[in-house]
Amino acid sequence: MKDTKSLATQIAFLLIPVAISLAVAAILVTAVGRDPLEVVDALWKGAFKDSRKLGGVVNFWIPLTLVSIGLVVTFRAGLWNIGVEGQMMMGALFASWGAQYLLWDASMSPLLNLALIALSALGGMFWAFVVGLLKIRLGVNEIFGGVALNALVNVISIYMISGPWQPRIGGSAQGTEPFPVPALLPEFSKTFPVNIFMILLVFAAFIVVMIMLNATRWGLNLKAVGKNMRSALLLGVATERASMSAFLVCGALAGIAGSYRVLFTFDNLRPLASGGIGFLGLLVVLLLSIRLLWVPLITFAFAAILTGSTRLQIAPSLKLDSSLAGVLQGMLVLFVILFQGVREIFFPQRAVDAEDIETNENRPNE
């Protein structure tokens, strides 16, 4: 429903802040006596030097994109699902359980993979359901509920690792024993170590969620609930059901992202296996102000920067800490959000009627 002109401004207002944050980063790098071009070169090489490096980027991109798609859904419903990190962990826990106890034959490996992915989705949904229940039935804000559940699932995972799932030899809190090979997701090849099925799953999720949000009653209900719960209720929307469904969809995607971490990135369950990807997803979605269309691209850029940044330390002429990547990402988000504010000022929504300005300008927003 947007016309081309607003699309052009949309892109402009995404590109300008990116350019500015790159410039600021360049200044920073110069200030500490390094050549910004070398940094770019190192980042590029770190991410794209060969197919193995690219594989590393994709392996980060898969879970990040899954959680980001899920977060678009909860944000659409006006929910700050900060519990997404914990939902990833619960997915990882469920998958880990299956990987250790469903001792299927190697010939059954693809089926086992599917079963574990389904289990992890269930795990994520379960943890998201608890957040939703707390929110809808008991009025606990989803941010508080999410933070608490994130902490709780971390404690549970550490307990499992150092207790029931402790390795038989040399047990520590480092991680469980490696899972049996049939349970692990297979690599495409040694030179391009990614799981193709998961890549396809990400695109499938992207397309399905895109259609669900824009062309179905469910998507419209979510939007209505997100903008104004009271009005949505009075217009006949099942508001509680809408909120809960958003949590469940996000939880399922986060759970699957969690399974990828333990069944592919690692080969066992470790504490904090989710690796902050859920929180990074929140940043991505904030950056895009909840526009799903750009999610796979931006998550790819984030994944590339993060993966590439490991080379900053190795490159002999740089010896920069890889946290520079985090600095760059933080600036990106800040500048984009800043420019959204700037855009509001210079390209405000066009008024239809004199009165609308009279009635809306000084009304506190929802």
Binding site: T216, A224, K227, L235, V352, A354, D356, E366
Partner: protein, 501 residues
């Protein structure tokens, strides 16, 4: 102080909200600014009070051209505006709100501020507890707070936008007395933006009338010193209406329909409230019947309506919709059985800011899982025609004016609801829009819809209700015969004088 506006222009896109307006306001005068919705009166006042800049034109104070850049600068020049929704902070106390606009806020100690607040309140008969939270105040008290706050800032000109919307008759008397005092004793200029002709006639010395952005006339009001007889008021009113609409509006009356079977039966219904001592309520509402609920704000009618719509808690008694007990039902279940609740705040409860008109249509369309946006846009366009909405299908609903929002809301109602429960269905609308809303509502009534509504407009209640129930401090008093009840009598009942009736 004397304020002169010279050749003010303001455009919003294609709409010329103020066209070449020139006017002078003199010291000690109370001036009414009249006009229907969208006539440009609020725009003009916002320009004067610094909330919006004019596109062209000048503002002169005591002959000096003033160029200000915002409300703070306007206040520094002695011009303050009281918004329709008071701009205060709910979580603050009265005293904190009183302090926070002050230029030397920190230097001015709490104790001193409290003394000033008490002093000003006492002078105008306002009841403001400095330590009460804003959230616990009535709209009228929040207005009073805003007035004393502006006075403490040294304002010499006070602009009030629809100050009598949502406040009781008693509070109105207090407010008007205060405004008269300010004009007569302190020589302040009071500008009153209003739809309500009675208020304007009662309070103002002169009136300016705007129509479609143009200043179409001004008129001296009959002096309040002489007794305002009914005939004088009626004549003045008619004259003002002619200026506002360019035509004379006939007095409204309605046809009464044959009533059908009971739709809603209320039996000893008890709703709980901390501030009110609510008594059990019983009534039966029949198909095609219009029930008006009268009473000062916060007398229990809002609680009752929300309880009936299952949006508020019921602590006792029975409630039946078409014979079925609905005490345990949710609003959604009622909605699917044809009972619709319309709240007073359109953008807070009813419409969804950020959604387009088409999206609203799709939201209430009882359709399949997949939404056919093309047919929804078509349906929206036809509704826009049918309900004469000024706006387009792809516009966000908050871009429309209040009157148009109400039309959109009407268009979203199901075609033949069983029961409509409406909070102040014409609040903030001009006479023309309000009549149009009622035409739509009565059409539905004719085909069997029952309506329960409340209003602070007594004329509206008497004109459209089949029966009226007066709420007073949690008690409910049925008015015996509406057709034999005058507005005056109803006014007394609302004030709690049941014995007289």
């Amino acid at each position: 102080m004397q304020i002169e506006l010279r050749n003010i222009h303001k455009r919003f896109g294609p709409v010329h909200a103020n066209q070449d307006i020139s006017v002078t306001f003199h010291e000690g005068k109370i001036v009414g600014i009249l006009g229907e919705n969208g006539a440009g009166k609020s725009t003009l006042m916002k320009i004067l009070s610094g909330f919006q800049p004019a596109d062209q034109g000048q503002i002169l104070i005591d002959g000096q051209v003033i160029d200000y850049t915002g409300p703070t600068a306007a206040i520094a020049n002695g011009i303050g505006m009281l918004q329709q929704d008071p701009l205060d902070v709910g979580a603050f106390t009265v005293l904190e709100n009183f302090i926070y606009g002050g230029a030397e806020g920190i230097a001015l100690g709490r104790a001193q501020a409290e003394a000033t607040l008490d002093d000003l309140s006492a002078r105008f008969g306002f009841e403001l507890d400095p330590h009460q939270l804003i959230d616990n105040l009535l709209i009228a008290q929040r207005q009073q707070l805003e007035i004393v706050r502006l006075l403490a800032l040294g304002v010499q000109t006070l602009i009030l936008d629809e100050p009598t919307t949502g406040i009781s008759a008693e509070q109105k008397i207090i407010l008007f007395d205060a405004l008269r005092k300010l004009a007569r004793d302190e020589g302040m200029i009071i500008l009153l933006v209003s739809h309500k002709l009675e208020d304007v006639i009662e309070l103002c010395d002169e009136v300016l009338v705007l129509r479609a952005g143009v200043l179409v006339g001004d008129m001296e009001m009959p002096s309040a010193d002489h007794n305002l007889t009914g005939a004088v008021i009626a004549e003045t009113k008619q004259h003002l209406v002619t200026m506002m609409f360019g035509e004379e509006l006939e007095a409204q009356s309605r046809e009464h329909y044959d009533l059908g079977k009971p739709v809603l039966e209320v039996d000893q219904l008890l709703v709980h409230d901390l501030r009110l001592d609510m008594q059990p309520i019983s009534m039966s509402v029949q198909a095609s019947e219009v029930i008006g609920l009268a009473g000062l704000d916060g007398s229990g009618q809002e609680l009752f309506m929300r309880a009936c719509a299952r949006l508020g808690r019921i602590t006792g008694g029975n409630l039946r919709l078409n014979g079925d007990n609905i005490v345990g039902a949710s609003y959604r279940q009622l909605f699917h059985r044809g009972c619709v609740f319309g709240a007073a705040g359109r953008l807070e409860e009813g419409l969804i800011a950020g959604l387009t008109l088409t999206e609203h249509t799709a939201l209430v369309a009882d359709d399949h899982m997949r939404i056919d946006w093309k047919s929804m846009a078509k349906r929206t366009a036809s509704r826009i025609d049918q309900y004469r909405v000024k706006g387009r299908a792809a516009d966000n609903v908050e871009q429309l004016s209040g009157g148009n929002q109400q039309r959109v809301l009407m268009g979203l109602l199901p075609d033949d609801p069983q029961l409509l429960i409406l909070e102040q269905p014409t609040r903030g609308l001009d006479v023309d829009s309000a009549r149009w809303i009622w035409t739509q509502l009565l059409q539905r009534c004719q085909s069997g819809t029952a309506i329960i509504f409340n209003s602070s407009d007594l004329e509206e209640l008497v004109t459209y209700s089949d029966r009226i129930f007066v709420f007073y401090a949690g008690r409910v008093y049925p008015v015996p015969d509406v057709s034999q009840t005058s507005i005056d009598e109803l006014g007394h009942l609302i004030g709690g004088e049941f014995q007289q009736a």
